[in-house]
């Protein structure tokens, strides 16, 4: 689904930048880039993205899962989770129930694009 609006929520600037470049090149519209929960929710309200690519940041102030859950509930946004956590934690956090796809870091361009395509299909 070319032109779909994608919200990038990544704490690491370089990763966010990489996704932006890659997705723009692939023809998607970037609905916004956020490093934290609050700006992410704000961007979602403004731009109604189709998909959010969210890193599973498990920190006190930046909780990717909570953000993802809120986005999915409040805005019906599809969730693609990127993570470096092992499967046990992914499962423990309930990610498989929440996400349309999971990209395990480090992922290739092809992998993330395939995941995005699968989520938007």
């Amino acid at each position: 689904m070319k032109g779909a609006a994608i919200l990038i929520v990544q704490d690491d600037f370089l990763e966010a930048e990489r996704l932006r470049v890659l997705l723009e090149q692939a023809g998607y519209t970037i609905a916004g880039i956020a490093g934290r929960t609050a700006p992410a929710m704000q961007l979602a309200t403004q731009h109604h993205p189709d998909l959010a690519i969210i890193d599973m940041m498990l920190e006190i102030d930046v909780d990717g899962i909570r953000t993802a859950t809120a986005l999915a509930r409040q805005h019906g946004v599809k969730i693609l989770v990127t993570t470096g956590f092992p499967d046990s934690i992914i499962k423990a956090e309930g990610v498989p129930e929440l996400a349309c796809a999971i990209a395990r870091k480090p992922y290739t361009d092809e992998e993330i694009l395939a995941a995005v395509a699968a989520c938007l299909a």
Binding site: D11, D12, F13, L14, E15, A16, E17, R18, V21, L22, I33, G35, R36, T82, T83, G84, F85, P86, S88, I89, R104, K105, P106, Y107, D109
Partner: protein, 675 residues
């Protein structure tokens, strides 16, 4: 039974035959004496009978002589009287003497006459006439004097053996008794003369009032008549018991001499000797008993009592007790006491060893870092060590005797009895001898992870189980931390790889040759590595701003101190800020080195840092100003470096960075909120 009592019984048993022999001897002696007395009574009776026979024979001779007198034969009364009176002068014992005619009429009285006028009707007279020989009357009471007497009648025969007259002699029984008294007799003895009817005719000592009486029971008389002579026991007229010997007179079948000897008196000697022997034996016995008791007491009872006391003390647990017999006791008892003492010493040593061993074991159990619980086959707690109390919060008294399942949460609480029963039934161990992690229940209801290993043992036929529990809360926590740490390391490594991957991809967008690309990429990676180093040095608490900037400069400018003028507030950056700013300063520095102030010898970078205080929150302000370099102009298209400088601070730190290309050189203003 006490030993002294046994000794006494032994003495009694030993003394019994002696007593029996003494009693037997006494009885035998009595019998012997009695037999002797009986024999003597018989002999005396015979002797008395013979004396009386002699007397009667004398009387017969006297009568026979008188019968030859012509005055008697011719019935000459006067002549007869004188002749008989002369004759009687020689025989004072004769009471009276006379003669009667064949018709029984008396014609001669012989002086001492007190006779009846006619004795024709007297049996003895008739017998003397008929048998023409001496006849003796029975007891005759009467006459003129009334004195009891016996009469003798003797016929005076003529030439043709015809009876011409009968001579009569009267014999006073009193005199007879006197004559009997002349017989020598032992003390208490009696002698008497009785006729066939049992009538007493004479007696010594005299008993005039009994003369003429039947003084003996008829049985005695019957026996006497039957046996003629013999010995009988009987009570005399004086009420005294005697042995009576009896013998008939040869001269008169109807008269018996009876001699009574008192036999009780004869036993006095035997009895006295018997009692003397008895007393001597009894005294000996008592003395022997006393000696035996003393010996028993000294040699046996007291040593045995001492041994008993020692055993009692040992029994009550005092193994220091020793038997000391001193000089008492037999060698056997001394040996026994020595054996006892040896045994006690050995026991004491063994008990001490046991106690020491037990104390050591107890110390091991009490100080064990693991909880040790012993239960029986019913699951009841038999013992616990202090660690169990500490671990599970219960006091020892609250646990002993309780079902061990109280220390378990559900579902083990409900199932433990069944586990135990199944193991006892089938022998299939689920945990015994294996050990596993279980959950324990603390008194306060909380649960705690335990490692439980169970051993089994049997004692006196009872099966017991020993559970050793170790609190593995810390281990669990450590394992969890380890797991998280590994997960975190994994996570960070993956994130870092993803970052490097992103950087590698992004670096490729604005570099020319591969060499150029590699240099640029390596430079950026090194900047990241330096930030890492700084953070690692402070254990990831943060990094100092000035250290970070100086480090970056040192890597690219070298020791040219003039190239950098760093001033202002220094502060500790958060790891995230340090990582972001490190890359930003790397881009600024490499940019300056390639195109700006640091690309010429006298170019210079001035960095000022300051903290801006504001009610909404403090901010770090950084100003990067280049001077002395070539003239710069804004590039036509923003490279990756510029993108990093301008946008990473906004993204990562909610701050901002602006770049201005002034005539003197590039200027960058950075604002980072310090929240």
């Amino acid at each position: 039974m006490r030993i002294s009592v046994r000794l006494l019984i032994l003495l009694v048993v030993a003394a019994l035959p002696i007593f029996a022999l003494q009693v037997h001897g006494l009885l035998e002696g009595r019998e012997e004496r009695k037999a002797k007395i009986a024999q003597r009574a018989l002999d005396l009776a015979r002797l008395a009978a013979a004396q009386q026979d002699q007397f009667i024979e004398g009387a017969r001779h006297l009568l026979a002589a008188a019968a030859q007198f012509p005055e008697v034969q011719n019935l000459d009364a006067a002549g007869c009287d004188s002749r008989i009176t002369d004759l009687l002068k020689h025989f004072p014992i004769i009471t009276g003497m006379g003669a009667v005619a064949p018709d029984g009429v008396r014609f001669c009285t012989g002086g001492r006459g007190e006779a009846e006028a006619s004795i024709a009707d007297q049996a003895y007279f008739q017998e003397a006439v008929r048998r023409r020989s001496l006849a003796i009357s029975g007891l005759i009471l009467g006459g003129r004097s009334g004195v009891p007497r016996i009469d003798f009648a003797y016929p005076a025969l003529g030439g043709a053996r015809e009876v011409r007259a009968v001579v009569v002699l009267a014999y006073s029984l009193e005199r007879l008794s006197e004559s009997l008294s002349a017989t020598p007799l032992p003390a208490g003895a009696t002698i008497s003369l009785v006729d066939g009817s049992g009538i007493l005719l004479a007696r010594a000592p005299p008993a005039p009032e009994s003369i003429g009486q039947v003084v003996r029971e008829s049985a005695f008389t019957r026996t006497m008549l039957d046996r003629r002579q013999g010995v009988l026991e009987s009570v005399g007229i004086d009420g005294m018991e005697r042995l009576h010997g009896f013998a008939p007179l040869l001269t008169s079948a109807d008269l018996f001499a009876v001699v009574g000897l008192p036999w009780r008196a004869a036993f006095h000697e035997a009895d006295r000797m018997f009692w003397r022997d008895v007393i001597v034996t009894a005294v000996s016995f008592v003395l022997a008993a006393l000696v035996a008791l003393l010996i028993g007491e000294h040699w046996i009872s007291r040593p045995v009592a001492t041994l008993e006391q020692v055993v009692d003390r040992m029994e009550s647990g005092d193994l220091s007790a020793r038997a000391r017999l001193g000089r008492r006791g037999s060698p056997e008892l001394h040996r026994l006491a020595a054996s006892f003492n040896d045994m006690a010493s050995s026991l004491q040593a063994r008990q001490a060893a046991l106690q020491a061993s037990e104390a050591r074991l107890r110390a091991v159990v009490d100080t064990a870092a693991d909880g040790i619980i012993t239960i029986n086959r019913q699951g009841m707690i038999e013992s616990v060590n202090p660690e169990v109390e500490r671990l599970l919060g219960y006091g020892r008294d609250e646990l002993i005797g309780q079902n061990v399942r109280m220390l378990m949460p559900s579902p083990d609480y409900e199932r433990h009895d069944e586990y135990l029963a199944r193991y006892l039934r089938t022998g299939e161990a689920q945990i015994i001898g294996i050990g596993r992690e279980v959950t324990g229940r603390h008194k306060d209801g909380s649960r705690l992870p335990l490692f439980l290993s169970i051993g089994e043992f049997s004692l006196e036929g009872e099966r017991f189980f020993t559970g050793i529990v170790r609190d593995i809360t810390e281990r669990k926590r450590f394992e969890e931390r380890q797991r998280l740490l590994v997960a975190e390391i994994d996570h960070r490594a993956k994130n870092l790889l993803a970052t490097i991957q992103a950087m590698a991809l992004l670096t490729g967008s604005d570099t020319g040759s591969v060499r150029d690309y590699a240099e640029t990429l390596i430079g950026r990676l090194q900047a990241m590595a330096r930030a890492h180093d700084l953070l690692a040095r402070d254990k990831w608490q943060g990094a100092r701003l000035h250290d970070l900037i100086e480090g970056e400069f040192a890597a690219y400018v070298g020791a040219d101190a003039d190239a950098l003028a760093l001033s202002g507030d220094d502060l500790l950056l958060s790891p995230r800020a340090a990582q972001t700013l490190s890359l930003v300063f790397h881009e600024l520095t490499t940019n300056a080195a390639k195109y700006g102030a640091l690309s010429v010898p006298h170019g210079r970078v001035t960095i000022r840092s300051s903290i801006e205080r504001a009610p909404t929150g403090d901010s770090l302000l950084l100003t990067w100003t280049e001077s002395g370099g070539p003239e710069v102009a804004a590039p036509e298209r923003s490279g990756f470096g510029t993108v990093v400088i301008q946008r990473s601070i906004g993204h990562d730190l909610d701050g901002s960075a602006t770049i201005e290309f002034e005539r003197d050189g590039l200027r960058c203003d950075i604002r980072v909120p310090l929240s």
